[in-house]
């Protein structure tokens, strides 16, 4: 049970489960492949017949609109058949186990699963027990990993900035509960940026966050100074008040990205957000809609990156 569950014996991509242990060249191959799907002039995404006759199941045990939709579009642009299943624990509450659910779908001639689950490690568990010819893509598991989000974030950064090695990147907000943050940090460090920072209050940072390979800041003004990219994380509603934070207003006061704070970063700094945004909680509308924001580009590029992952996985089979 190791990271290389996602790699074959000769280093090819078998599943995409986490950025952890994913070699740099595989990441670059995905980014390069994604670029091919985007028309350089119009930014339109081409339709190609690569996966025609294949069936891809979008298996979502946790609600999602954006991620599921972009996966669906990506699969359709590759000419695959797509089946969407939102399993709000209904069949699980009938006594069927997670692995039973998956095996039933395998019997329906699935070629690939795109899976989101609210438990860390759930997608690993499935990949570990699934028939070897079936591919699994992790579309987010608990607090653990969201590898395609990290890849599309890399793609977006690379699209606007040619050289990763000089970049300082700040990730702001609820690092503790964020699979996006974990995958972004791993991806940015694997690709080799100058510095990754995390900014947030102690209640939203994991113990010894430094061991993830980041510089930790509690002060937003200090953390944003001279950065080239700001990734703002979504603050989940249930965490806005209680024992982690007193109120969304107080959070915005300390950690909201405002136009004034944005001035502390480099003038052409990119502002990113994995969505969906809470305007006025983690980000001011003026910044979200401002010239530095590449948030909508992230969504478009997300389709191309997911196409790249799917096509590379199916090519290996």
């Amino acid at each position: 049970m190791h990271t290389n569950l996602q790699l074959t014996a000769n280093g090819k991509l078998q599943h995409l489960l986490t950025i952890d242990g994913l070699p740099r060249h595989v990441i670059l191959e995905i980014l390069d492949t994604a670029k091919v799907y985007i028309n350089p002039e119009t930014h339109e995404i081409q339709k190609v017949p690569l996966l025609s006759g294949k069936t891809i199941f979008n298996l979502f045990f946790e609600n999602s609109t954006r991620t599921r939709t972009t996966f669906e579009i990506a699969a359709k642009r590759l000419s695959a058949d797509v089946v969407n299943l939102n399993i709000n624990t209904s069949s699980l509450s009938k006594g069927e186990t997670l692995l039973d659910t998956v095996n039933n779908l395998v019997a329906m001639q699935a070629s690939m699963f795109v899976i989101r689950h609210n438990e860390s490690g759930a997608v690993h568990l499935i990949a570990q027990h699934i028939a070897p010819h079936i591919k699994v893509i992790n579309a987010g598991d608990g607090r653990h990993a969201h590898p395609t989000q990290a890849l599309l974030d890399l793609f977006t950064i690379r699209h606007f900035r040619s050289d990763f090695t000089k970049l300082r990147i700040a990730i702001v907000g609820d690092i503790l509960h964020s699979r996006v943050a974990r995958s972004d940090i791993l991806a940015l460090n694997t690709i080799g940026v100058a510095e990754v920072r995390v900014i947030g209050p102690n209640t939203l940072l994991p113990t010894n966050a430094e061991q993830l390979g980041v510089r930790v800041f509690h002060d937003m003004e200090q953390g944003l100074r001279d950065v080239d990219v700001i990734i703002i994380l979504r603050l989940q509603n249930e965490r806005m008040s209680g024992s982690l934070l007193p109120s969304p207003q107080e959070y915005f006061k300390s950690y909201g990205l405002t136009p004034e704070r944005l001035l502390l970063a480099n003038p052409d700094a990119l502002v990113m957000h994995p969505g969906p945004m809470n305007r006025g909680v983690e980000i001011d509308s003026a910044v979200a809609d401002g010239p530095n924001s590449v948030i909508l580009a992230q969504v478009t590029f997300g389709i191309a990156v997911r196409m790249a992952v799917m096509s590379i996985l199916m090519r290996e089979s």
């Binding site: 049970m1 186990t97 860390s120 690993h124 568990l125 027990h129 608990g142 607090r143 994991p206 113990t207």
Partner: protein
Amino acid sequence: MHIKIAKGRVIDPVNNYDAVNDLYICDGKISAIGSPPAGFNPQRLIDASGYVVCPGLIDLSARLREPGYEYKATLESEMCAAVAGGVTSMACPPDTDPVLDEPGLVEMLKHRARTLNQAHVYPIGALTMGLKGQTLTEMAELTDAGCIAFSHADAAFTNNQVLYRAMQYAATFNFTVWLRPQDAHIGSDGVVHDGEIATRLGLPAIPPLSETIALSTIISLARETGVRLHICRLSTASGIKMVNMARHEGMQITCDVSAQHVHLCEQDIGYFNSHFHLAPPLRSITDRDAIRASLANGEIDAICSDHTPVDEDAKLLPFSQSEAGATGLELLLPLSLKWAREMNRNLVDALGLITCSPAKILGIDAGSLNIGKPADLCIFDPELLWRVTPSTLVSQSKNTPFLDMDMQGRVVYTLMEGSVVYETCKGGLP
């Protein structure tokens, strides 16, 4: 029945005895070591050359899952596992279903165990009804029914007033209270140590504070009430330090660790391997090393198996949803031997931690080779290498983090009260 156990390396930790010698059993009791007693006429000869002959092992925590969880394990299956592991006495936590909070249940369990007649079962009664931390159990009645101590199993106390009263009451009758220290709130949704693995895998964490805060409360209450206290399955270096400070102050306090925690740490979890989901969680390397050192210098009194059979389905779940625990009765001996080898300790030291020392904690007359005592014996091959696989384990559940690992040392014979309750062919597995 007269049995001669010939030419074994006889080790009796309580008497610091270690010599190759013959051991004689008459009518279920150890009758002599060295030369045969008068009128000895062996009906059975056990050739123990190359083997170690020691007191039957005593396990301070073995869940036998009855009543209530027979789909995980049964008394029959786990008694077989016990004797296959050389264990002849075991204490059973009260977290069965129903909870061991009524004398009738305890009597039934004792009766079932006696009928099977393989190993001695010592039930630990629940300290509060249903382990809910509200109402005291009938401790005197439960003691009469066969309970040897009172514990709260894996249920944390939310109300310290009740814990205070429970200790006062237990102290009145000189009952021992066994507790595994864990805060009711800090880390209550956690599944792994609050360290590198929790951070990397995004799993909810249990900080060491959960143990030390509870321990501080427990020690304060025990100091006040004067109750005899046993701390179960310490997992942190700071917890060990606290227990030993209390001990130096003169308090009656003992402690144990699980065999898993002697060898494993959080990093061993790898990628969500639910076999490593244990309670308390596997801690940092520093904590594990403190456990290993404290076993050597006497700060920890005993190693237990913390035997917790879990059915396969309950482990085939995402890590947080999987059930904590590992099967351990058959690994208690090899894991203790492994500790001794790695820490350069002799067999007397290693075996003391799983025989006379736990016997003393339980307050039972076992764990020695004294003449006239019941012949509960473990005879093992200290060199034999074997691999932990589902087929080499007798326990109904095969859930252990040591699956597919090689162990050195394997039980060849187990005797309870002079009867051979387990044996393998020489040099082989059952």
